[in-house]
Amino acid sequence: MRPEMTAAPIDNSFRGSAARNAAARARLLRGLLPALSLALVLLAIAWLNPRAISYFGFNLMLNLAIPIALATIAQMFVIAGNELDLSIGTFVGFVGCVTATWLKDAPLIGVLILLGSIGVYALLGALIHLRNLPSIVVTLGMSFVWQGLAILVLPKPGGKAPDWLLAIMSFKPPLVPFPIIAALLIGLVVHFGLMRTSYGTILRGSGGNPAALRRAGWSLLKTKVVLFALTGLFGVLSGMALIGITTSADANIGNGYTLLSIAGVILGGGEFVGGRVSPIGAVIGALTLALAASPLLTFMHIPPDWQVAANGAILIIVLAARVLISRKER
């Protein structure tokens, strides 16, 4: 068995044009895999309940897709720098609690708290780089910190979302449902920023080959701080979007997002190491998870006891399909 089974296939693209074409085709198919997974889930839903494929149906089914997509993008930034954020879920919960209390009652203080929390993320990036700490442990510790702060801000479930936020999240554009427009927008903006700008390339390079980047004169401290700050920023957006939908908060509201966001990045074609991530893939991965999580299961008449298992099974099936396709291509 090959030992590097979890690593990406390394392209041997110097072996003439035939090999290069095959490699390009494999890469293209690999890029299309997240979209294929989403299509698979959509087909299953359409087959089980054709009426769900409508403006109203999508609005309902993709209700929670926006915060999940934003949290997945947040996770994607740290993964691009070869780190992992195990605190994003409780952070989203903390942001939610602040949004439903301070941001409504005293907007200025609320905004300052949220900006401060992005600053904390930036500091964590600096700490992790300067002391060479494992991000898994630091963010594990931070997950307790955010949860504790969330309980202090909002001891009992409640609070209320600011009216402007409710208005944004219940926006009903003509023809295309809002969650789809929002997901497209998020994916395209981040894709442009991370994949098409020169500093975006540097950011991904900090995960791909940090040593080369340092020798070329770039500051790895700065890239790490920027990546963590971006994670904080999208975590804040995710928490706010979540409260805009649920209208009130609870200290535990975001706990599931840590694992969802990691699964979303991987479903979207991202790798844990090497700075290989895809913003559009991540958004598609998040949509797939959001759809597979409950609408599909409800239509399949799966009893509540087994819904969690069905979630796991869907994750496994999608990943198995991915392996089959990439194997055929090789």
Partner: protein
């Protein structure tokens, strides 16, 4: 003095120092009251974290990305299986323990099967598996209110001169784990794979088999932990293992094992487990609210890891 100096260079010593300081702070607060009882209670509770911590340590040592996220679900299911098989009768204790062990080992083996067959990162594989195990547990353990056999419950709470017997047995087990890691081919292979999987493969280490064994071992330890927890807390419960996801990873890393793999530390797991349990006891003694307790726990974990520092980059 030389031996003291050598002791101070060991990475695991700091977790014990931390545990001792926390204990000292607490008994200063209570004016010396309950100092011994606190150690006994800490030992009893730390045992459960140490058992899964050792399993998690072997998995993490396999290298970056290797982690077993299915432990909480595994513990929950095994606790239900153990209680059902024992059925409250003393004569079935050993059979029940073996059933829990087999259940855990099977989960570990399935975990590796997913990683190997689907070539997916272990984090995602064990996560997907844990979803399925959770459902099996909910469905299987529904309304299950079987008390552990009296003999088993007494055994898990048995103390000799204030030292829990379970803790003594666990010390023996961890010594065994340390020997396996340092002196046995299996342990050396785990370390070799963690340091450089390709080099280990080229050197003739059967990478697939060692990884399979390691995930199975972690699963089996989760299973036995579930049975013991059910005995100690007098009953199985779907949520009984929930706190052991974070705890198992935290004790491994605070204990000085490298998350980059290839470097394991058995004594540190004990020190870190005692530290975490005593920390919670201290915050409870101080009477702080749940929010402050979580906040301080988090800050202290981040503080400890920052003070201990990461290892220098190899490249």
């Amino acid at each position: 003095m030389v031996s003291l100096k050598m002791l101070l260079t060991k990475p695991w010593i700091w977790s014990f120092v931390g545990a001792f300081l926390v204990w000292l702070a607490t008994i200063t607060f209570t004016g010396g009251y309950g100092a011994g009882g606190m150690v006994t209670a800490a030992l009893s509770l730390a045992v459960f974290t140490v058992i899964v911590g050792v399993g998690q340590m072997f998995v993490i040592t396999l290298g970056p990305g290797n982690v077993d996220l299915s432990l909480p679900a595994n513990i929950g299911l095994a606790s239900a299986v153990a209680m059902k098989v024992m059925g409250g009768s003393d004569s079935m204790i050993v059979v029940g323990l073996l059933a829990a062990l087999a259940c855990g080992a099977a989960i570990g083996a399935i975990n590796y099967l997913l990683i190997w067959a689907l070539r997916i990162p272990p984090i995602i594989a064990t996560l997907s598996a844990s979803f399925i195990i959770q459902s099996v547990d909910i469905s299987f353990g529904r309304g299950l209110q079987i008390k552990p056999p009296p003999g088993f419950a007494d055994f898990t709470n048995w103390q000799i001169l204030g030292v829990p017997v379970l803790a003594m047995l666990t010390v023996l087990f961890t010594i065994g784990a340390a020997i396996a890691l340092r002196r046995m081919i299996y342990g050396r292979s785990v370390l070799a794979i963690g340091q450089n999987i390709r080099a280990a493969w080229l050197a003739g280490v059967n990478v697939g088999r060692v990884r399979f064994l390691t995930y199975t071992l972690s699963g089996a330890l989760g299973g036995i932990d579930g049975a013991l927890l059910a005995g100690y807390f007098r009953g199985a419960n779907v949520d009984i293992g929930n706190e052991y996801l974070l705890a198992s990873i935290a004790v491994v890393v605070i204990g000085g094992t490298s998350v980059a793999g290839g470097k394991a530390n058995v004594p540190g797991v004990w020190g870190a487990a005692l530290f975490l349990v005593l920390l919670l006891t201290m915050l409870n003694t101080f009477g702080v609210s749940a929010g402050v307790r979580l906040l301080l726990t988090g800050l202290i974990i981040v503080g400890v890891i920052t003070a201990a520092g990461g290892e220098k980059a190899v490249r």
